[in-house]
């Protein structure tokens, strides 16, 4: 099995996700955004960073990169596609996930460990986790505030995979670092093969880095790559 890690000009977390996947023996390949054939990949990661400088809108220019039509195709086939941070923003712009991400409530970049509570295990990001499990992982973004016009549809279809929470799992304004609607930190699509998360599970992959809580998400993704959802 092999995972394509897509690199846009301005992407910067590609080596970090490669490192985290490597820790559990998942093979990866860095793919430049002009690539038009991903047929060898069993799964795809759109990593964090600042594709095209985040100019215009985060993810807006990246969604037109040549590689994106391959990602559309793979998504339609049911292959696991994971977006992290900037990857989340790109997947929203591309219409593969509902909603959009806008500036944090306090208009400040946030880099610190936060907590998320797992809301659904029916996703490529959480199939190895438990509902209600609280994970301590880093958040690292300026535009991490999730909004959606049809927020009820997102909730009703059970698309929310994780929410920002307090360490005890409770959810309130205090535990919501960036003002995200309904404290949403991660969502999936209806078919549940495309998922994205604003915080960085790969930055919590080893205890020497302060937390290894993110590994359950990396492992979940790896599991869905080995056993892709059927088309």
């Amino acid at each position: 099995m092999s995972v394509a890690v897509v690199v846009f000009p301005g992407t910067n977390c590609e080596h970090d996700i490669v490192h985290a996947l490597d820790l559990i023996g998942v093979e990866t390949e860095l793919v430049w955004h002009t690539e038009t054939d991903l047929s060898g990949a069993d799964g795809v990661v759109l990593p964090g960073g600042f594709a095209h400088g985040d100019y215009l809108r985060t993810g807006a220019i990246a969604r037109f990169s040549p590689v994106m039509s391959e990602i559309d195709r793979l998504a339609a086939l049911g292959a696991p596609i994971l977006g992290i941070c900037n990857g989340f923003q790109i997947l929203c712009e591309a219409g593969l996930l509902p909603g959009a991400l806008v500036a944090n409530r306090d208009l400040k970049f946030i880099c610190r460990h936060i907590h998320v509570r797992v809301e659904s295990t029916d996703s490529i990001l959480t199939n190895r986790a438990e509902v209600g499990q609280v994970l301590r992982i880093p958040l690292n973004s300026y535009e991490g505030n999730y909004i959606a016009e049809a927020i009820d549809d997102v909730e009703n279809a059970d698309l929310v995979v994780a929410r920002y929470s307090n360490p005890d799992g409770s959810i309130d304004k205090q535990g919501n670092p960036n003002g995200s609607t309904n404290a949403i930190a991660a969502i999936t699509n209806e078919r549940r093969n495309v998922a994205a998360i604003m915080p960085h599970p790969e930055r919590a992959a080893e205890s020497i880095l302060g937390s290894s809580d993110g590994m359950v998400m990396i492992e979940s993704f790896a599991a869905s790559v080995t056993a892709p959802l059927s088309a």
């Binding site: 970090d16 095209h52 400088g53 970049f109 946030i110 610190r112 690292n140 930055r203 880095l209």
Partner: protein, 719 residues
């Protein structure tokens, strides 16, 4: 004001004598473009003309130094083929003019210095100084500078791992924004800036050239500020982290592919500096055709193109057979690349525009023939006065109240309002994050560890430039020692007032002496630095504010390095290190509670410094849970930091107010279940436990209060 009567060289900031030596070198009057080039290259910022004479006192001949001062960054050997490149720079005046862009372009510039050496930049630090935060303009400057560093550093994809911040009146109209960068490379990736090989091509990579920051080096960075200068200042330079990110990746790939002979970043003085330095360093000449320069604006004169400080540009020297490969690689990374020149036998740098020769000067003369000044120095008259007045702690002091006030100081309270705006985790190397004494990073795939701390102390350097200068070196060394690394190399940033003021010159010389002495005592090479003079506004010079960045290195990164949040119930608390006491000159207590800046900071003995720093590093690398050096605010603040971060109280046995606020250097707190085994002075002072900072008879402060005050010191002022 520009009038017809003012000669061009004066308008460009040159003296009559300097103009005469240009005429002598050329054997004629300079053409306009030539004058522009000399004026910038001979500016204080580029030529170090007032400081050069004194910088020779810094040593760098230790065997682990691969590249000392003089190149774009210093390089040290980490063993097994690994090298580290480091450099520090100031962006003081640009950040006063436009805090966001000033700070942002400062980050961009320092990163280029590092990747110019072939290194991948892996971390940034930001030592900052502002006026007091009760003035809204100072808040605006802090807010802008921090967002600028965040905006650029985060987007370019280099983590910012720490820094420092001080507040004092003297910085209100002249804030200091220094930035330090660290890069990693393998031996074979090292690239230098000397052009060689007649016929080699000079390729300009990156951004288009516009009228940005024309004369930035000579005017903004090399002259004092007067009220009202805002209106006539040159254009603001706008940072483009996206372009820089592409440039980093493209350049690193160029080196990997072995496609460049030499490379130089474009900073101050733009094309004139980069072409003359690469050619001059290689003992060659160069022909440059300005028509090939990719410009952003219409109608730029040759002088403007030569002097423009447009950001995110590099000049690569490439063998002719590799020219096409370089252009192709640039196009893959979506950056512009144009061949603008060719290396010649020299020694002339010849510049053409529209087919006409607009400049012809000996390439090396721009850098090598710059004037060197031995400016007069005079011991400042304020010293006798401040030394005569000995600070003390009033007998009736309320220790708890005093501590509350100190914890509320924005330079003592939690600075994560700053550091959490910076990505400090990217690359998965950060083992000890900002918020501790020094930050510690691993080098993946090895057992090696690197730590960096930046330190300055404008107050003590003002009270005694020599001792203050020495103390920042010792403090930086302590800060990396507590991470379990050994101090390994230093870069320095010398922020001073107007060097034409003999008292400033004296401060400068004394501080350099003190720093050089301390480095020698610790066998620490100074591998690079920067001098920022003319930090003077409306005739007021800043406090002398040298800053050091100390690199610590270890072959064996501790698996559990000390952390401030590792104190646990029942652990003992010890103070180890220097046996001296009663050092209150320039202390937080005297400044903040007594409201004065006076006294003479204690002298430090080199032998003590060496012994303490080595012992601290040994304890830190052998599993001691908490090792925290005692600095601003003394023992009281250091203990509070440990208690707050660990969410548990401390109970002190028998302590005096004098001991609590003393700032005697070279001491650390150790918290552990076991008594530390150390050759230096070691004394138990208390135990971890409870929910208060319990000072026995002197009173106690509930931990929750302390935590609240400490964590809101900065946000309550800024939000």
């Amino acid at each position: 004001m520009t009038t017809e009567a003012t000669p061009a060289h004066i308008q460009l900031g040159m003296t009559d004598e300097e103009y005469d030596s240009v005429c002598e070198i050329l054997g004629r009057e300079p053409r306009p473009a030539e004058l522009a080039m000399y004026s910038v290259m001979w500016s204080e910022h580029c030529s170090y003309k007032s400081s050069r004479k004194h910088l020779g006192r810094f040593g760098s001949d230790q065997p682990w130094v691969v590249v000392g001062p003089g190149e774009n960054a210093g390089v040290v050997d980490l063993g097994d083929g690994w090298l580290a490149a480091l450099r520090i720079e100031s962006h003081n005046h640009p950040s006063f003019v436009e805090p966001y862009q000033g700070a942002a372009t400062g980050v961009g510039g320092i990163l280029r210095d590092v990747f110019t050496m072939g290194a991948r930049p892996v971390a940034v630090w930001d030592p900052l100084r502002f006026g007091p935060l009760d003035d809204p303009h100072n808040r605006y400057l802090l807010e802008g500078v921090v967002s600028g560093i965040a905006g650029y550093g985060n987007a370019v994809g280099v983590p910012t791992l720490g820094g420092e911040v001080e507040f004092a009146d003297r910085f209100s109209k002249n804030p200091l924004v220094n930035v330090m960068a660290l890069g990693l490379l393998k031996q074979e990736q090292l690239v230098l800036s000397a052009a060689s090989g007649e016929g080699n091509k000079a390729i300009l990579l990156g951004n288009a050239t516009g009228r940005d920051g024309i004369g930035g080096a000579s005017i903004l960075a090399s002259a004092s500020f007067e009220e009202g200068d805002e209106g006539k200042r040159p254009n603001v330079q706008v940072g483009d982290p996206f372009e820089e990110k592409k440039l980093i990746e493209a350049c690193l790939e160029l080196y990997d592919e072995g496609l460049v002979v030499a490379i130089q970043d474009l900073g101050a003085a733009g094309i004139s500096c980069a072409t003359s330095e690469t050619a001059g360093n290689g003992g060659m000449g160069m022909d440059v055709d300005l028509d090939n320069v990719h410009v952003r604006e219409q109608g730029m004169t040759p002088g403007e193109i030569l002097m423009s400080e447009s950001q995110e540009r590099m000049l690569a020297i490439v063998a002719p057979e590799n020219e096409q490969a370089v252009l192709d690689l640039a196009s893959k990374w979506e950056i512009d690349a144009r061949t603008i020149g060719e290396v010649t036998q020299g020694p002339e740098l010849r510049v053409f525009s529209d087919g006409e020769l607009v400049a012809e000067v000996p390439a090396a003369s721009l850098a090598d023939d710059a004037p060197i000044y031995d400016r007069p120095a005079e011991r400042p008259s304020y010293l006798d006065e401040v030394w005569a007045d000995e600070p003390s702690i009033p007998d009736e002091v309320d220790v708890v109240d005093a501590l509350r006030t100190l914890l509320d100081d924005p330079a003592i309270g939690d600075r994560s309002w700053i550091s959490s705006q910076y990505d400090h985790m990217l690359f998965l190397n950060t083992v000890v994050e900002p918020g501790h004494d020094g930050s510690l990073m691993r080098i993946k795939g090895t057992t090696k560890g690197l730590a960096v701390a930046t330190d300055g102390d404008a107050f003590r350097t003002y009270l005694d430039p020599r001792r203050g200068g020495a103390r920042i070196v010792f403090e930086g060394a302590m800060n990396v020692a507590v991470t379990g690394t050994r101090p390994y190399a230093v870069v320095d940033n010398l922020n001073f007032g107007n060097p034409e003021n003999p008292e400033v010159m004296w401060q400068f010389i004394e501080a350099v002496d003190g720093m050089a002495w301390a480095c020698e005592e610790l066998d620490l090479p100074v591998v690079g630095g920067n001098v920022s003079f003319y930090n003077q506004t409306d005739g007021v010079d800043i406090y002398p504010a040298p800053v050091v960045g100390v690199l610590g290195f270890t072959e064996d990164i501790p698996t559990k390095p000390p952390r401030l949040d590792a104190a646990e119930h029942d652990m003992g608390i010890w103070v180890i290190g220097s046996e001296a006491e009663g050092d209150l000159a320039g202390s937080a207590f005297d400044r903040i509670l007594n409201g004065s800046l006076r006294g003479r900071p204690a002298d430090v003995d080199g032998d003590t410094a060496r012994r303490v720093i080595t012992s601290v590093a040994d304890l830190a690398s052998s599993g001691t849970p908490v090792v925290h050096d005692i600095s601003t605010g003394g023992l009281a603040v250091a203990l509070a930091e440990i208690a707050i971060k660990s969410s548990i109280g401390v109970i002190l046995d028998d302590i005096s107010a004098d001991e609590l606020f003393d700032e005697t250097p070279l001491r650390a707190i150790v918290v552990s279940h076991h008594e530390p085994i150390t050759p230096v002075n070691c004394r138990r002072i208390g135990t971890v436990g409870g929910a208060d900072l319990d000072f026995g008879d002197l009173g106690s402060l509930p931990l929750a209060d302390a935590a609240h005050i400490w964590s809101s010191a900065l946000p309550r002022r800024m939000n």
